[in-house]
Symmetry: C2
Subunit: 540 residues, 2 copies
């Protein structure tokens, strides 16, 4: 430790945007990550742990024209190399695969879980270090790999405690969007900037609505503060093509409503029921009241049919729709019906590097937000196919697809559903009445621990007994053990049920309280048995 | 992802001194950390996860007279603050306790596990990122807290698979050493430099032997390469005092040998047996052939008696010996006899910040080193009491004691003892004979996974079937499933026992091999049952 003579006292603070995690915050996350790893492992994925530090060059954020790597990463110069903390798990995977490709199986299925770092402005609930939990398949060109990730994502959500019906996995394909661009006359290298603006505009559909997106596709949009976002400058016809894609779900639903009224008009109640269920499903909640299993598949096929018409004439667009149909067919064969995994053209996902199927897991149950309003929980995981990432290193295109789970959001969701293991149980506290008897107290905790019971001796200053009970309270201790001179003489101990005690304290009068009905005197030899009995009673 | 046009291809490499961990390397570590956490939790310790990044100021490595923080840490400037990666778990704990002390229980028992970073020259087996696994008690002044950590360390080693008898926890006390310094006339602020040299010299006993230490205590020492290390400049008398301490174990043993010959001379065979066992134990292996439980206690008391004589006249020295006796008494009462936890004056531990008891866990079994020579496995954990670390922040002295487990060394030890779970089982591989049947293959793996069996469909290019079997081999797959046109027509599948197949291939002739006795044709409906049967057979 460096000498700090005469220096002012250092501040005891985390750096801005970082935080500490205590007790159950840590163990609940560990437990969830272990559950996720078990599913990934069953699917044949292997663990990979890369170092937190990478060269900036390998991470791919290096901009040669500035003195420092660009914003977004924590980077520093070390022996003339620029090093950085990883900002996600995908860039290190690309580096690992390029570095070790001769020793790794192909395809290479790997999972990775751990912290990543972002040098971004911190905000409420936004930290500069957070957990990611990824699974990727590298070297598998077929959409069977994408379908597998979607199936695994569904299994994972159920394994950690999200019920079927409480989540929906929405799948789209970038190729369909590229086909739409082509049909709208936005193909070609010279239109890259416009395509970028269109992509970002579509990604904002949820926030801006159709009219906002329409403005961004055209001349641009002025927001409430007066700031202007430049538009893609498309003409009316082009905008209509893109909006037909953006509105696909609504259009399919409108068509279904027309079909429904026709079916009712025709008196065909069976078809009408199917269409009603289809419309329910189209509301994106993944739930419908019909008992027919094929409703989801019907929605998927309706949407594919619509998309196929939309991209007519674009080879890549047609290929995208074919792939979507293949994915749903594969998933359906394994029992993942469209009430769990649904085709949804509104899923774009912002990242520029996706090249094929993209997918997103949304939790469909409602929670109340900070203002007490109900809202959907929203997205907890997402991913897609990115076939170009390894190419940076090797020059060869390597197909890859993968998903990233937002660990903190998923934990929050489980918490909201009451699916996390109950508040961590505090330890049994053996209090200290007589410091000279420390060996006896230690022997008591040793017995309890050997019986698998979490327990500890009070190791603070024992002079003030009240402080010991306050400590037990702060530790959320279920039971306190008390033994002083009298007890040792008579070979007994006092066992205090702190949970029951707290309940009595809430309701009892002082006179009743003095009766101490939550405290038991038992023979010393019955320590473990009596503690077990009380703990069992508290758990009931 | 930044555009890399015209830029040269980035190198796919970890930064110097960093590495990747694959598959079982990751999962075995996770498993061990979970086992350790369970013991820590049972002892009442709470998890704490601090961020990887701290301010240099809080870490305490800042030297105001240089432009950059000193060597040893990875540090960089960010918005005029110097940030750094934590280099251990203790400095962040001191910061956390100072920052949150009003909300934390006192005493605060916490454990922390995760990577730390050192900006040091990498070497073989020495990496710049490695795991630590710490448990500390903050705010408990009594040596009962130190004793508890020693007991917990013993339980932890046994929980992860180190047998009793294969480890020894050695305990010493800095106060005894301070007493020795005082007796040798090395007390006082003006002797701080000398004390530092003495401390470092003693810490090198294992490597340099007594004569090397003697040289460092005196004028200095020239090593084989001719480099000179400056000595402490003590006179003969001072050197003798320090060496009596350094040699304490040997002196106690010599005294025992004298006692032994006397006992034999007197024909007192019972005492002779006790002393023989004592001598065995003194060899620091923690093992003796006697069936007497009190041998260890006897050794501890012999050593304490010797140390007490050595520090006569030094108040702090006597206090140190008293504390050692108290620790062994507490541990003995809980059943931790001295064949597990032994007083050993040769334990110094280099870190300057220890102020009281210090302890070290050594594995006593032999392994063969890289040159095939047997050697003791050595230390896997260590720690001690440091009462000054929090004071840096608050000005108030806060007593603390804790242990750090060298995760990688402990894993290596378990590996050497064959105590790690067996080589991770590869997945059952469902091969692809007919790409159009992908949904059928996916259905097979879905059945296997739902039965809890790790399995995957081959997702590479299926054209060359040999590649699929090579892949299964690279995945250490136990079983391959094969189904083509004939099989689908007859509603059967081929199940290939790859473990048995490999054994046959080793010994069989080509003709026998062609008989394929390790391959079974079963009805499609028997997939899961037959795979289970084969896996069970392989496990036997």
């Amino acid at each position: 430790m460096a000498k700090m003579k005469k220096a002012p006292k250092p501040k005891a603070q985390t750096p801005k945007g970082f935080r500490d995690y205590f007790g159950a915050e840590v163990t609940k996350r560990t437990e969830m990550l272990n559950q996720i790893a078990a599913v990934y492992h069953r699917y044949g994925f292997d663990a990979l742990e890369t170092s937190a530090v990478e060269t900036v060059e390998a991470l791919g954020k290096f901009l040669p024209d500035v003195d420092r790597p660009n914003e977004g990463v924590f980077a520093w110069e070390e022996d003339k190399d620029w090093l950085a903390l990883r900002y996600d798990m995908t860039a290190p995977l690309a580096r690992v695969y390029a570095q070790h490709r001769n020793d790794l199986p192909t395809p290479y299925r790997r999972y990775a879980m751990g912290p990543v770092w972002r040098n971004e402005k911190p905000g409420p609930g936004r930290f500069r270090q957070f957990y990611q939990c990824d699974a990727d398949t590298v070297g598998a060109p077929s959409v069977a790999a994408d379908a597998e990730i979607c199936a695994m994502l569904a299994d994972t959500l159920e394994a950690v405690g999200i019920d079927r019906g409480d989540y929906i996995i929405r799948v789209n394909n970038r190729k369909v969007l590229n086909g739409v661009m082509e049909v709208a006359g936005l193909a070609g290298d010279d239109k890259e900037a416009e395509r970028g603006i269109v992509l970002r505009a579509i990604d904002k559909l949820d926030r801006l609505g159709v009219e906002g997106v329409r403005a961004l596709l055209g001349e641009g949009r002025k927001d409430e503060s007066g700031d202007v976002t430049k538009g893609a400058g498309l003409n009316e016809e082009q905008i209509e093509v893109v909006l037909k894609f953006v509105n696909a779900n609504d259009v399919v639903k409108s068509n279904a409503l027309i079909d429904l009224s026709e079916a009712i008009g025709d008196g065909d109640s069976e078809i009408a029921d199917v269409i009603r269920a289809e419309i329910e499903l189209s509301d994106n909640k993944g739930q419908h009241t019909s008992d027919r299993d094929d409703i989801g598949d019907f929605v998927n096929s309706q949407r594919c049919e619509y998309l196929r018409k939309l991209v007519q004439g674009s080879e890549v667009g047609i290929q995208g729709v074919d792939e979507l149909e293949e994915i749903t067919a594969l998933l359906s064969a394994q029992g993942y019906e469209a009430n769990r995994i649904v085709i949804d053209p509104s899923v774009v996902r912002g990242l520029g590097y996706y090249t094929g199927p993209v997918y997103e897991a949304e939790l469909t149950f409602e929670v109340t937000d900070e203002k007490g309003r109900p809202r959907n929980f929203g997205s907890v995981a997402g991913g897609g196919r990115y076939d170009d990432l390894v190419k940076r290193f090797t020059g060869q295109e390597v197909p890859a697809t993968g998903v990233s789970i937002g660990v903190d959001r998923l934990l929050a969701a489980l918490d909201a559903k009451g699916r996390l293991s109950k508040a961590a149980v505090g330890p049994v506290v053996v209090t200290v009445m007589d410091k000279a008897r420390m060996a006896d107290y230690q022997t008591m905790v040793a017995e309890l621990r050997n019986a698998g019971i979490r327990s500890e001796v009070y190791l603070g200053n024992p002079k003030n007994f009240g402080n010991q009970l306050k400590y037990a309270d702060a530790r959320q201790s279920p039971i306190a053990i008390i033994a002083g001179g009298d007890e040792f003489e008579n070979d007994v101990i006092q066992i205090k049920d702190l949970i029951l005690g707290a309940e009595i304290a809430k309701s009892a009068t002082l006179e009743e309280w003095k009766g101490l009905p939550s405290q038991y005197e038992v023979p010393r030899g019955d320590l473990v048995a009596k503690v077990r009995e009380i703990l069992a009673g508290q758990g009931a």
